[in-house]
């Protein structure tokens, strides 16, 4: 019974959203292509679902690829919106004439498997782990097992931010396992008790354990207050100012409804 009530409330909310923020999409038609940052995907999916349910003539295609790919692809005109989990560099902005829209703030947390007793690290320890100088959990108070390092490929904005702000641009050892997205990183850590990786705070839930870094636990709250420093903006970029459906999509992201979705998916709204 309880479930049904909760469901009804959710449905009511959804219905409410349909009536309010989505009116702009009436009469629109066509394909909206989105690619890039994988941290953005849950929000993108939810927004897309609402828009496509409201107006089936619109098709929204969401692909990953990482922030680098998002910026590049929108610049090349391959997609309408290119997401990035880092601010596009000045050269990128200049080269492609990008317009940047920041719609949420996100932290990047180091994560381990919940069964791992090691739940606190200093910044130095984290750098040593990733550089390969500490290679066994035993040295950190855990089991006598090798540390399985997971990292992302160069296209990742999450990696860029983590590397810059948590690893202080330190080395990442070549032995590290490579995964292609936030989701992939999370499932890798879930399945491997001796893994360490890093994901968007929005992806953290009970199946993985975020590592307390220098005494600060990465949560929505600590990121919002600025206590947890490994944070970044989530951007949606367009080539030139946003136009057409892309503009309406970004407007919706920045509307109260859109911001509510961002918050619901574990990010900090900008408004």
């Amino acid at each position: 019974m309880k479930k049904i009530i909760v469901l009804a409330i959710i449905l009511l909310q959804a219905g409410f959203c349909l009536a309010s923020g989505l009116d702009a999409f009436k009469e629109e038609k066509g394909i909206l292509r989105i690619s890039g940052g994988t941290a953005h995907i849950p929000v993108m999916k939810e927004v897309a679902k609402r828009i496509m349910t409201f107006n089936p003539d619109i098709q929204i295609i969401i692909a990953g690829g990482g922030s680098g790919a998002g910026i590049k692809q929108v610049g090349e005109g391959l997609v309408n919106i290119g997401n990035s989990g880092r601010q596009a560099t000045e050269t990128e902005v200049k080269k492609y004439g990008l317009a940047l829209y920041k719609w949420a703030i996100d932290g990047v947390a180091a994560v381990v498997n919940p069964h791992n007793p090691v739940k606190k690290l200093t910044n130095k320890q984290l750098q040593d782990i990733y550089a390969g100088r500490i290679s066994n959990w035993k040295n950190l108070g855990g089991d006598d097992r090798a540390i399985n390092i997971y990292t992302r490929d160069a296209s990742s904005g999450t990696r860029a931010v983590f590397w810059k702000k948590a690893l202080k641009k330190g080395e990442i050892i070549g032995r590290a396992n490579f995964v292609a997205s936030n989701g992939a990183m999370k499932s890798a850590v879930v399945n491997n008790p001796y893994a360490i990786g890093y994901i968007s705070v929005g992806y953290v839930d009970s199946t993985v354990m975020q590592v307390t870094l220098d005494g600060v636990t990465p949560t929505l709250e600590t990121v919002r207050t600025g206590q947890y420093k490994v944070a970044r903006g989530l951007f949606s970029n367009t080539k030139g100012s946003a136009k057409g459906i892309a503009k309406k999509f970004i407007d919706y992201l920045l509307s109260p409804d859109g911001q509510a979705i961002a918050a619901q998916k574990g990010f900090i709204p900008v408004k």
């Binding site: 990953g64 690829g65 990482g66 680098g68 790919a69 590049k72 090349e76 097992r145 090798a146 399985n148 997971y150 490929d153 160069a154 296209s155 990442i172 050892i173 070549g174 032995r175 590290a176 396992n177 490579f178 995964v179 292609a180 890798a188 399945n191 491997n192 001796y194 893994a195």
Partner: protein
Amino acid sequence: MRFAVKENLAQLFFSGAAVLSGAATLLILGFMILLSLPVLESGLLMNILTDPWSPGHGQFGILAMIVGTLYIAGLSLLIGFPISLGCSFFIQITSPHGPGKLLKKLVQFMTAIPTVIYGFVGVFLLVPVVRQVFSYGSGMSILTASLMLGILICPTMILFFSQSFARVPKNFLLAADALGGTPFQKLIYVIIPHAWPGLLTGLILGFGRAMGDTLIALMISGNSVMLPSSILDSARTLTAHIAMIIAADFDSIEFKTIFICGSVLYLLTSCGILAARILDRRQQG
């Protein structure tokens, strides 16, 4: 006269189609080489073939991937070859009726199992097992990928082996039987000497299949870019490398190197096919 026009048109259509099929092969090669050219011209080829992969330091070497590919394909062959040999003995020699026929059906069915299924089962069944058993690493390793690939390439080899056993002239076998040879003697003195080019061909095709597979390596080999030092290390194959780097910046050197990977894969497999062809002719002729 209308007859002749129709005939000629048809022949034109058929030959056009054949030219198209042949052209496809060359076109792919052409594209790979063409897109590798910028790297080749910049004189970086040697660096790319020998450097480590570390884009942060401006190093884009694919040596680790080449080694990873050969390592994984080689090990999977080591696993798959004896099994395939045993199974083809089973099908052709030990019990050609009943059980052998059933096994052959199963092997043919195996060719229809999607590779992504092997990968999926690998991720959720084999990887944890390997991690537990060896208490080392993430469980995503050369060994894990090779085990799965070893099973994947079995049907290719088994079907080829049993075909080349079957091609051994019947009267030779009869002669061996008439002289009182045991099945083992028949195998050693008649079948193997006749079928070895076929065995080698099957081996080459199996190797090509293992080398060309993307999904299993991508999903369960861990994709790290170090030169592997043990079979429990994780490694990245050329195919997985292409799949991972495809999203990178088109103008970057790292993106351009995937065409080198493509060319290397293309050339390696074509050499395999050429060798297989020569061997095949040898057995037939």
